[in-house]
Every structure is written in C-alpha cells, then in structure tokens.
C-alpha cells in the first residue's frame, strides 16, 4: 500500500492502492469513476484511455501509484455540470456509438488529439483513433463525430 495524492477531474483525491493496482482499477474501484472501461488489460483496445497531464494514456498499462501528483481527466470530467462538451455533442449528433463500451476511450483519445491537432482531416483522425477498437459501428460514425466537432471548434 502506498498513500498517493493526485488531481482527478479538477479535484484533489487521495488513496492507498496496492503497488500492483492499475490506474484503471483504482479509478473504477477506489474512486468509483466507472466511466473508464476495461476492455483488454493489455493496452491494445483503448477502452480505458484517460488524459494525464494533457496526454492520452491507457490506464490499464499504468499503475495507480505512477499517477501520484499527476492531473488525470476521465470521461466524467468532460461534462461535470451535465452539459455535453463539443465533442460529446457532435458524437450524439452523428450517432457515433452503439453499445457504448468503447465510447469513453474514444472520447478521451479524440479529446487529446483534437486539442493538439485542431485542423486534422479524416485520414489523420482515422490514424489517431486506430489504437481504439470499436466492435459495433465500423468507425465511420465515430470519425464523422470527430470531424464535426473539429469543424464546430474552428467556427467558434
């Protein structure tokens, strides 16, 4: 057990995870932030993606203790007052998802990517999201949602 302090969705949180506990399990079990989903536990599917200090990270490949003193954003941090963000709204408008299990990972990955690449085109977006697996949609609706969000961001 190690005492850690970290910032999660803008709030200071503390915990005492076992050294071997993944960040994904810590977020879900210890902090009750179950929006982060665990899809493969070996870093391929991207369902558990969160943003740490501005970068998209697979929380199944990181230990909770490694997140000490870091700034973590999970899906719950994107619409804290219930108001959907631009990307979430664009994905709703685009019918981006079906079962919703991969959704938080895609949204976190796309959020980090769009903040660094606001002018990205379709092929760039496809490559940026190619580390996230969706089994339901065939991806087109997800790509359309990200493209729509980028367009709306540019118009603002």
């Amino acid at each position: 057990m190690a005492d850690i302090t970290l910032r999660v969705n803008g709030a200071t949180r503390t915990g005492s995870p076992e050294a071997r506990k993944t960040l994904a399990d810590f977020l879900r079990d210890d902090l009750d932030l179950t929006g982060t989903h665990v899809g493969c536990e070996h870093g391929v599917c991207g369902a558990c993606t969160v943003i740490i200090d501005g970068r998209a990270v697979r929380s199944c490949l990181m230990l909770a203790v490694q997140a000490a003193d870091r700034e973590v954003t999970t899906i719950e941090g994107l619409a804290p007052d219930g108001e959907l963000g631009t990307l979430q709204q664009a994905m709703w408008d685009s019918h981006s998802f079906q079962c919703g299990f991969c959704t938080p990972g895609f949204i976190m990955q796309a959020t980090a990517f769009l903040s660094d690449h606001p002018d990205a085109g379709e092929q760039q977006i496809r490559e940026a999201l190619s580390g996230n697996i969706c089994r339901c949609t065939g991806y087109q609706s997800i790509i359309d949602g990200v493209l729509l969000a980028a367009e709306r961001n540019r118009e603002r």
Binding site: C40, G82, Q88, F101, P104, L129, I133, R135, C136, G138
Partner: protein, 782 residues
C-alpha cells in the same frame, strides 16, 4: 433533453436517448455494479486441450488471506442439478446430447476449460488464489480437427456419447437431385472452407450473483441478450423455482450472439453466491473471452454444382462438416438453418444437403451474427467460380439466376416463400452506382502498371423475421409480447423482453410508440432488463424491428384506445370523436377542449372513480409478425491487392439493402456498417487459431486482430423500400446482413484482383501471408 420536432418520429434519424449517459460515462454495465459485501471470482482454467483431471488441491489457495472459498468442479456438482445445455434444451434439441458438468470434474476438454472457481475479497486476490490451486493432469490425445473427430479411432470427449459426433449425419434432398445433375451441361466441384473466428464484444461476459438466503431469492445482474433465458438457465441448474430467480440487466457492451442465457462460469458464480451467502462478481478478462467464451464458423463444404452453359445454377449438392468445439450447443443445431437458407434468392431446381457435426477440443461453437452465414459464403463464392469458368460478369450471372418477383412469390427449393425479396432490384442498383464498365477500364490501366484492383459483388437474404410460417410463430423466436402502461405521471411506458446491447431500442421503440399514441418522443419510456416486470423476450436473430416494433405499434394503438375510453368518460364525449396529438387529448374540431395526456393519467390514478369506470390504463399486447418478410440486398467491394506484400486495401464499399420501412435510418446504417466491418475483419484479419496440440494461439488482441478505423472504409448505403407487405408493420431487421454478405463480397473482389495470376479462392481467411501463398502457387516465379 431538448424536445425533438418531427412530423413523424418513425423514419427519421432521431438522436438516441441512450447517448447522454453513454457519452458521459454514466452508462451502467455489469462491471460497474458494487454491492455491500461483494466478493470476486476467478477461474482456474486448464492449460491442456484434452486431459484427465487426476487431482485438484485447493489447500494453499484457501490458506491465502482474502480467499473466501474455492469450489472445484466436483464440489459444484453437489450444489447444482445436472442437465443438458440450457439453450439446447430450450430449443428442443433431440440429437446427441453430451452429459457434462458445470465445471470440469474428471476431464478437461479445451484450453481454458474451468476446473475450479476461487472467490476472494478482490479480483486480484482471486487470481492470486488461482495460481495456488494445484491441478494434476494426465494428457489425453487432443482432437483438434473435425476429420480426426469423425474417425472412429478418436478418443471420445464425452463418455456417454462414445464417439465425437455432435450431430449425426443427415441428408435431405429437395427436387430431383440426380436428374438435375444428370441433365446439366456441366457439373463442377469445389471444396470450400470457412475458418473459426469469434464475436469479441468489447465487454466480455460477466455477472454479479446475489443470493438472499432469508428469502431464498437469487438476484443475478447479468450481461445477456435475454434476462428470461438467463433466468431459465439459472433456475434449471441451481434447482430453483423460476420465480425465485430475478435477473436484472443494465447497459451491455455488445454481444453479437455470445451472451444468450447463462454460461457455465456464470452458473458457477450463482452457485458460489448461494453457497457462500454473499454477492459474487465475475467479469471475464480478454484472455478468458478469446480462449473460452465461445467461437463460431469453421465449417467445411464439399460442393457439387449443376450448371447450364448459359450460366444457370440448376442444382447444388453440399456435404458440410461443422466443428462444434468442445461443448456442443448452437453448432449442433445451426446446420438445419444453413440447409434451409442455402438456395438464397435463386431459383434452384434441386438441392441436396448433408451435414455432420464434430466435437473437438476447442472452444464451443456459439451463435455469431448470422450464425448460418457460411451458406451465403458458399453460394456466392460458387456463383463467382462458375462465372469465371463461363466468362460471365458477376452481376450478370446473379441476374440470370435470381428468382423472379411474382405474386404469389417464388418459393425456395427448401420451402420458404421469397416474400418481398428484391435481390434483382438491388443488383441492378449496385451496377448503376458502381459503373462496372468504368471500373474495368480503370482495372486494366492499373494492371498495366502492376497494380491489382478487383471488384466483387454478393447478395444475401436475411430472415428478419422471414415469411410468415404456415403453422404460426413458435419457440423462443416466436410470438412477441409487450406490456404498455400510461403511468400516473403521464408517461407511456413500454415493458419489453428485448435486451438491447447496442441496437438502440430505447430510441427506436419510443419513436414508434410516440407516433402511434400521439405523445412527444420524450414522453415514452422503454423498460428493459428485469424479469420481475418485463415479458419473455430475446434480442437476437434480427427479429426486433418487426416483432418488437410491431408489438410496440399495435400495443400503443390498444393502449390509446383504452385511454380514450377513459378520457371520453372524463370529457363527456364519444371516444370515436377524440384525438391524441402532441400529448393532448381533444375533441375533433374543438382544439379548446384539449386536456393533456398527463392530466388524464393523473385523474385515472386519483381513485375517485367507481368500479364501473375502467381506470387501469394498461394493456398486454402480442404480435405474431404480421406478414413478415425478408431483408436482403447486394453489396459490392472494390479492393486493391498489393502482390508484393499481400496486403488488401478495401477502396470502396457499397451496400444496397431493402429492410422495408426504416424506423431510424441512422440506426439501420449503423447496424449495416458494423456488420460489414466484422465481415471485412473475418476475411482480412480475424482467426481463432489452434496449434496441432490444441493449444490456443490467439488469446490476446496482438494475436486476434480486430479491424480498426484504418481498415474499414466509408461504407456507402442505399435503401430500397420496394414492397410493403403488411398494413402497419413493414419494418424488417438488419442486424446480421452486413456480417453475412461482407465476407463473400470481399473474397470475390480479391479473387477478381488476382485473376491475372489465375488464382481461385476456396477459403474465407485471406491475411497477407495467405495472399502471397495463393499468388506463389500460381506463379512459381513470384
């Protein structure tokens, strides 16, 4: 949520009411459930494909702090009722029925076969406990392929069967098979293989079982396609009355046929909760999911085709062997559907079909999106092979063979009428959209530069729900029920046994009910996932558009009539003169008379009325599918094959489909695209791979490759809506078609691309290494 303005919700791409929770991480999946005192289960699994279990020593695991219990297969047998696979029992299977235990007791039959379950204070500790369980095995020869399984010398996996036959050989003939083949201009023969691949929902299987000893009630939080089928399975195996088992389900992270009923692991978790008296959660990890949850396909076909010189496919004679894996269920039953479906939309004069099911030391065969799909692969592959031999265009050979649309409709040689099938129209439309002559010119230019482009088409029909059976709907896939109630708050509540896991029923059923009843979309609530309140139902088989859409429509109509009878009493008007629009009840011609539906509901609930006034604003509706009908269509792919690397790129993909009237076009198109992506994955990437010793070789996402955003092209979709069949309900399902027809579409395109090498393709899995082998076999110089 903002109000949605639409003339009619049905037919519009209404935004999904599921999405506000899905998009904010507020969905509630089974792994998100946390109950007081909840324990966690992990399974000890066999590392061998086939072995005798000599001993299981759990003492070290039990001594580990945090481990609460370890139950072996033998112990679980004393706590549960032996019996056949629940799904086989429910489907009325009468063939070979292996006797097997919940967990393995004396024999393990696949890598990943569960031997014991460790229950501990956390999943981490449960997995630690698994490491400490010592199992002594004695190797048995693995039965890794169907050919060996059917050899009388192979060691039987199940003692009570005495051999490895899951489905005894059967042969059926339709039409005059021998005369058709004797009189044909030519008879061609092929051997075609479909490889093993699997569902892989992003959320694996899982459950939380919570046994309340005080009340003798088991509550199961499940990820399932049917809470009621899960309840039946739990009650059967645990020896409980069904009404003492309550199954609840929330959001479900996909299934594609995998999560029907309750798996052996889930039943063991239920038994463990009952034995320990605390809630127990089990959520499989990806390794368990890939290794042990179930796999599909892997059939081989010996095909003879009777053909005329002008390209008519006169007859097919097919011998199929299906590899059902280790614990037979769906795999034993699916050949009957394949036999019935093999003619497709084509006018065969005769057909013979033989099938045998083999039991092997692999994961069990489960339903996977379009479980009968391999017959479509065979038929559409054979048509292309014939076309190549005769020098016919792939669209032309299909147009020559497709059954004409007549009244009454043409009947498949296997017996079902082709009601509403518009294959011809979809073929013609695809040809227009794609412009074959222009493609052939581009293909020739590309070949001159050493680039290999190819085009492929394939057609399919999907029984969604299929033509109205003469004997009426029956069995688990039969009549659909729904309870509808106008709640005290004025909400139109639909209680359905559908268990959506991505299909968007919360949106689509509300669209239909809102239109039919006359309330805003937001005033309809869809209630799912609780055996205490929803009627029997199952989400699967592409049936919900017609069956549940239909019962929602007719049920809303019945509920409306009931509400209007009460409103007529309140408003001192005749029910025939009342209308409901936009949530208001009013007398025709007198808008000032309007009162809200909510007010009507409040008054009904007020208890102010005598027994002579019916204030129960609730109906039980059923729907038999009406006139039913098929979905279907034609898909077309253009691919480029890199002859140097073997990499196939899908450049363009066009789907022309007819599913009747669309409830929500964006939802329909999502289903089609998702299915096509799985079909592309099946051909180019995915394979459940076993070694010669039965070892499992694709237990991670680095070995079992899934299509990503860079592998799936934009999919162009056009809808035909040619034939209204029913006065009210013309919605037909689209859940499976994409996955059924994409594999032959893509393989046909790849073969076309490789035609300069003379390559003929008789298999479905074409990763780069295999493409290079196919080219090298034709061109040793390459």
């Amino acid at each position: 949520m903002t109000a949605i303005a639409a003339e009619r919700y049905t037919g519009a791409s209404i935004k999904r009411s599921e999405d506000p929770r899905i998009l904010t991480g507020a969905g509630r999946y089974v792994d998100d459930i946390k109950l007081p005192g909840m324990l966690h289960a992990a399974f000890v699994r066999s590392p061998m494909a086939h072995a005798r279990v000599l001993s299981v020593d759990v003492s070290a695991a039990l001594a580990l702090p945090g481990v609460v219990a370890v139950l072996t297969g033998a112990e679980l047998e004393t706590m549960t009722v032996p019996g056949p696979d629940a799904l086989m029992a429910l489907m009325g299977w009468a063939g070979p029925t292996p006797e097997f235990t919940l967990l393995a007791t004396d024999t393990v039959r696949l890598v990943g076969d569960p031997v014991a379950v460790v229950v501990a204070e956390s999943r981490y500790l449960a997995e630690d406990g698994c490491e400490l369980v010592e199992v002594e095995y004695d190797d048995l020869p693995p039965v890794v392929d169907a050919a060996f399984a059917l050899d009388p010398g192979s060691p039987p996996l199940f003692a009570n069967l005495g051999d490895n036959i899951a489905r005894t050989h059967s042969r059926h003939e339709f039409g005059d098979v021998s005369a058709t083949f004797a009189n044909a201009d030519r008879v061609m023969g092929f051997h075609i293989d479909v490889h093993r691949h699997q569902n892989v929902p992003m959320e694996g299987r899982g459950c939380v079982a919570d046994y309340d000893a005080g009340h003798g009630v088991m509550t199961m939080y499940a990820a399932t396609q049917s809470v009621h089928v899960t309840r039946i399975a739990v009650a059967m195996r645990l020896g409980m009355e069904q009404d003492k088992v309550r199954v609840l389900a929330g959001d479900i992270g996909g299934s594609f046929g995998l999560k029907i009923g309750a798996s052996r692991e889930e039943l063991a978790v239920a038994a463990a909760s009952r034995a320990i008296g605390r809630p127990v959660k089990w959520v499989e990890d990806r390794g368990e999911n890939l290794t042990a949850s179930g796999q599909a396909r892997e059939e081989s076909f010996d095909v003879r085709a009777a053909v005329s010189n002008d390209g008519a496919l006169l007859g097919l004679d097919v011998k199929m062997v299906i590899d059902t894996g280790s614990y037979p269920g769906m795999g034993a039953m699916v050949p009957d559907i394949m036999e019935a479906m093999l003619p497709g939309p084509y006018k065969l004069a005769a057909m013979g079909f033989e099938s045998t099911g083999a039991i092997t030391n692999k994961a069990p065969y489960v339903a996977y999106r379009g479980p009968w799909a391999s017959e479509t692969f065979v038929r559409e592959r054979v048509l292309n092979l014939i076309a190549k031999d005769l020098g016919l265009d792939p669209v032309e050979i299909r147009l020559r063979n497709v059954a004409p649309r007549t009244d009454p409709p043409a009947v498949m040689i296997t017996g079902r009428p082709l009601v509403g099938v518009t294959t011809r129209e979809s073929l013609e439309r695809v040809a227009q959209l794609v412009d074959f002559p222009a493609f052939r010119r581009r293909q020739a230019e590309a070949r001159a530069q050493g680039r290999y482009l190819g085009i492929g088409v394939a057609t399919f029909i999907e029984a969604a729900p299929g033509p109205r059976p003469p004997e009426g709907p029956s069995g688990p896939m039969g009549m659909e029920s729904m309870r509808l109630r106008l709640t005290e708050d004025g909400i139109v509540a639909l209680f359905t046994g559908q268990m959506p896991h991505g299909q968007s029923h919360q949106t689509t059923l509300a669209q239909i009910a809102a239109d039919e009843f006359g309330v805003p979309f937001e005033q309809v609530r869809i209630v799912v996932g609780d055996t205490d309140v929803v009627p029997f139902g199952l989400t699967g088989g592409s049936r919900s558009a017609t069956m549940t859409g239909g019962v929602a429509l007719h049920g809303a109509r019945q509920l409306k009539a009931k509400v209007l009878d009460f409103a007529a009493y309140l408003m001192e008007a005749s029910a025939q003169d009342l209308l409901i629009t936009d949530g208001n009840v009013w007398v025709r011609g007198d808008p000032a008379s309007a009162i809200t539906v909510s007010e009507v509901a409040r008054r009904a609930a007020s208890g102010q009325f005598g027994a002579d006034v019916d204030t129960t604003l609730e109906v039980e509706a059923t729907f038999d599918g009406g006139e039913g009908g098929w979905s279907g269509g034609t898909h077309c792919a253009i691919v480029e094959v890199d002859a140097g690397t073997g990499i196939v790129k899908v450049e363009r993909y066009v789907a022309v489909e007819d599913c009747g009237a669309l409830i929500n076009p964006a939802v329909v198109e999502g289903q089609i695209r998702g299915g096509v992506a799985q079909g592309i994955g099946a051909v180019l990437l995915e394979r459940s791979a076993y070694g010669e010793d039965g070892s499992f070789q694709s237990a991670t996402f680095m070995d079992y490759l899934m299509p990503t955003a860079c592998d799936v092209p934009r999919i162009e979709i056009e809808h035909l809506e040619t034939v209204p069949l029913d006065a009210d309900v013309n919605f037909r399902g689209v859940g499976e078609g994409g996955m059924i027809v994409a594999p032959p579409t893509v393989v046909n395109a790849i073969e076309d691309a490789l035609s300069p090498f003379g390559v003929r393709i008789y298999e479905q899995h074409l990763p780069p290494a295999r493409i290079l082998e196919l080219i090298a076999a034709m061109d040793p110089g390459q």
